[in-house]
């Protein structure tokens, strides 16, 4: 049952809209129409710059959330310790067999990455449903899941329909040669799931006389733009990881402020919000640089060209991120109450009542 004082948004409607996928939709429309002649070179440069500020810190934020306390590591020891060891062997195998193992290690990661995007999009939709007190039925949830995951499956299948090799940074790997009919079938499933979901939402709206929260649809629409519409627009496509990271950082930042406040018994204030945000942001920036700039160059020191070491180590870091992201939102801390329901006002405004 929704409590009247709980906000649907982490910050407010417009800002949540921008972070959760609205900015990507706006940028796509800009690139598709008024800026369609923009030189690809400048968008690549801009996307690379934003990697330092947004993409890389988002990876660091997940690692920080798991590793910053011993109790977290002890709750999930296999994720914290076992998975890095496993990935170390994947990297070692790739370095020892650059033609035999490395291409498939990287390819495995390129398959897993859009699946991870889909999982995040679905998770965010469900978080907002929960915040708005809007409960999806099992069928509605399955249809929403289908419409999100089929975007990734369709895009992946289409990119694998050729027989010529494709590249990720400096490593080339084979395509699977999936029949075109499979990709077409997956696309039909995607549209079907979306259509039936919308119909069910419409019926429910009429019956219950309550509109669903608009932000429930945003991650799915953004996902469609990223993987379906944006896939043929290279100048936009390079920004997709940025928007995925923005989604994550909004939620992770809000949760971080709330959790630390509750854990340490700190009262809400603007000073606390600024200080903690700065510390967290700086730490994640440095962590991101360590993972994505320093680590590949360590691979270079081992005698491999950066064009080879970088994709292998980036793949390992990201696979680790997929595991960590799966567990960190299940961490149990008795001192922290429902962090995913926080509104940022609770953190900086002492006058804001905290929902029970």
């Amino acid at each position: 049952m929704r409590e009247q004082s709980r906000s649907t948004y982490f910050i407010n409607g417009p800002i949540d809209f921008l972070f959760i996928g609205g900015a990507s939709i706006i940028l796509y429309l800009l690139f598709r129409f008024p800026l369609s002649n923009l030189d690809t070179y400048w968008s690549f440069e801009a996307a690379y710059l934003m990697s330092w500020l947004v993409n890389w810190p988002h990876f660091s934020a997940t690692s920080y959330r798991l590793y910053h306390s011993k109790s977290n590591i002890l709750q999930y020891p296999l994720t914290a310790i076992g998975v890095p060891i496993l990935l170390f062997f994947g990297v070692l195998g790739s370095f020892l067999s650059p033609l035999g193992i490395a291409p498939f290690f990287v390819k495995f990661f390129t398959f897993w990455s859009p699946y991870h995007y889909s999982g995040q999009s679905l998770g965010i939709s469900l978080v907002y449903c929960n915040r708005a007190g809007y409960r999806l039925s099992a069928l509605e949830r399955k249809l929403l899941t289908g419409s999100i995951f089929f975007t990734f499956l369709t895009a992946t299948a289409r990119s694998e329909t050729g027989t010529d090799p494709i590249s990720y940074f400096g490593i080339t790997y084979p395509r699977l040669g999936i029949p075109v009919g499979v990709a077409d079938g997956l696309e039909v499933c995607m549209y079907l799931c979306a259509l039936v979901f919308l119909i069910l939402m419409g019926i429910r709206t009429v019956k219950k006389k309550r509109l669903p929260p608009w932000i429930l649809f945003l991650p799915a629409i953004a996902q469609y733009v990223w993987f379906h519409l944006g896939g043929r627009l290279p100048v936009f496509n390079v920004f997709v990881p940025l928007f995925h990271s923005l989604q994550y950082l909004l939620i992770a930042w809000s949760v971080q402020l709330k959790e630390k406040m509750d854990q340490n018994g700190i009262g809400p204030s603007r000073g606390y919000a600024w200080k903690e945000s700065l510390q967290w942001g700086t730490g994640n920036f440095l962590g991101g640089v360590g993972l994505f700039w320093i680590l590949p160059r360590l691979g270079q020191l081992a005698g491999f060209p950066l064009s080879f070491a970088e994709p292998v180590l980036v793949a390992a870091v990201q696979i680790h991120h997929f595991f960590v992201d799966g567990v960190i939102w299940k961490l149990r801390n008795p001192k922290v109450r429902s962090p995913l329901l926080v509104n940022i006002k609770e953190v900086y405004d002492a006058a804001t009542p905290v929902p029970a």
């Binding site: 296999l78 076992g82 398959f111 010529d164 595991f323």
Partner: protein, 306 residues
């Protein structure tokens, strides 16, 4: 008349911009030429509009549309030719506007001979008018091509780059095992101010080959192609076996199930590696790989779940 202050302040900047442009342009011929900045250096092509006007015009149009950017050299036959891959197989996907620029070019046979340095247009065997974007640089005389393929230009400079290309080991299908990509293609009056930098050493180029369906193609014994995978698999099994033996008393049921997922992941990865390379000849194997991967990712989302 005194210049207004804003214009005076911008003068040094404008002068610098002019000098940079002039310096960039001076590095290239003043007459129109096509330049391919590859990852090993620049190739400067002179076109023959007098004997192949349609090819010259179309190639120039394709260059200016950026269609050759991220294509690469996919075939090297020492003494014969070096061939660039066509636009469909370049690394970056074409935009819709770029796709519209690619049109078949009718053959233009002239009295010119296929000799060293000549640019000759590739086409489908049996269809004289099917040339689109792929072309070759001849490394020696090829009289058997005379009267059958369009000669549309010559390599004016860049033979040191060709020499570096020829040093790269080739697969049995004559493909360089390191990728030599066209980083940027442009025509000389429109020299970009900022361009990517090539490397001098081909060993720094990314690997452009994988061992798989063509494992016989590389000069490696087949057993060596499979051995690294088996060694890695065996090592992982030993380490996990010893870990489970050593720590089994301390594992909770949740952690036992996670260990099972790790073994599943390792097994699937090797399945993925061994089958992916063959899936081109097993169409439904590729589909099975795709859905199998999704199933494994779904399982991994339950890793250490309560």
């Amino acid at each position: 008349m005194m210049l207004r202050l804003p214009y005076r302040r911008s003068l040094p900047f404008l002068l610098a911009l002019f000098l940079i442009s002039a310096a960039a342009a001076e590095a290239y011929p003043s007459q129109e030429r096509i330049i391919f900045r590859t990852s090993l250096g620049d190739l400067v092509f002179k076109l023959y509009p007098e004997t192949a006007p349609r090819h010259a015009a179309q190639i120039t149009r394709l260059v200016k549309s950026g269609i050759y950017d991220s294509t690469f050299i996919y075939r090297v036959e020492p003494g014969f030719l070096i061939q660039f891959v066509d636009h469909r197989n370049r690394r970056l996907p074409l935009t819709r506007e770029q796709e519209k620029q690619v049109l078949p070019i009718p053959v233009e046979i002239s009295s010119r001979k296929h000799a060293r340095g000549i640019l000759t247009m590739a086409r489908h065997e049996g269809d004289l008018n099917s040339a689109e974007s792929s072309f070759s640089i001849l490394l020696g005389p090829a009289p058997h091509l005379d009267g059958r393929y369009t000669i549309f230009g010559e390599l004016e400079s860049g033979w040191e780059v060709i020499q570096r290309v020829l040093e790269i080991p080739l697969s049995k299908s004559k493909r360089p095992i390191h990728r030599i990509e066209v980083l940027q293609a442009f025509s000389s009056p429109d020299v970009p101010i900022r361009m990517p930098s090539p490397v001098q050493d081909w060993k720094l180029l990314p690997l452009d080959y994988f061992v798989g369906a063509e494992s016989q193609d590389v000069n490696l014994p087949t057993s060596l192609a499979v051995a690294p995978i088996l060694i890695l698999l065996a090592s992982l099994m030993i380490i996990f076996g010893i870990s489970i033996f050593s720590f089994s008393q301390r594992f909770s049921p949740r952690q036992w199930s996670a260990l099972g997922l790790i073994l599943t992941l390792i097994g699937f990865f090797f399945f993925f590696t061994l089958i992916s390379s063959k899936s081109i000849v097993i169409p439904w194997g590729s589909t099975a790989i795709l859905f199998g991967a999704v199933g494994v990712f779904k399982l991994m989302s339950r890793f250490e779940a309560r």
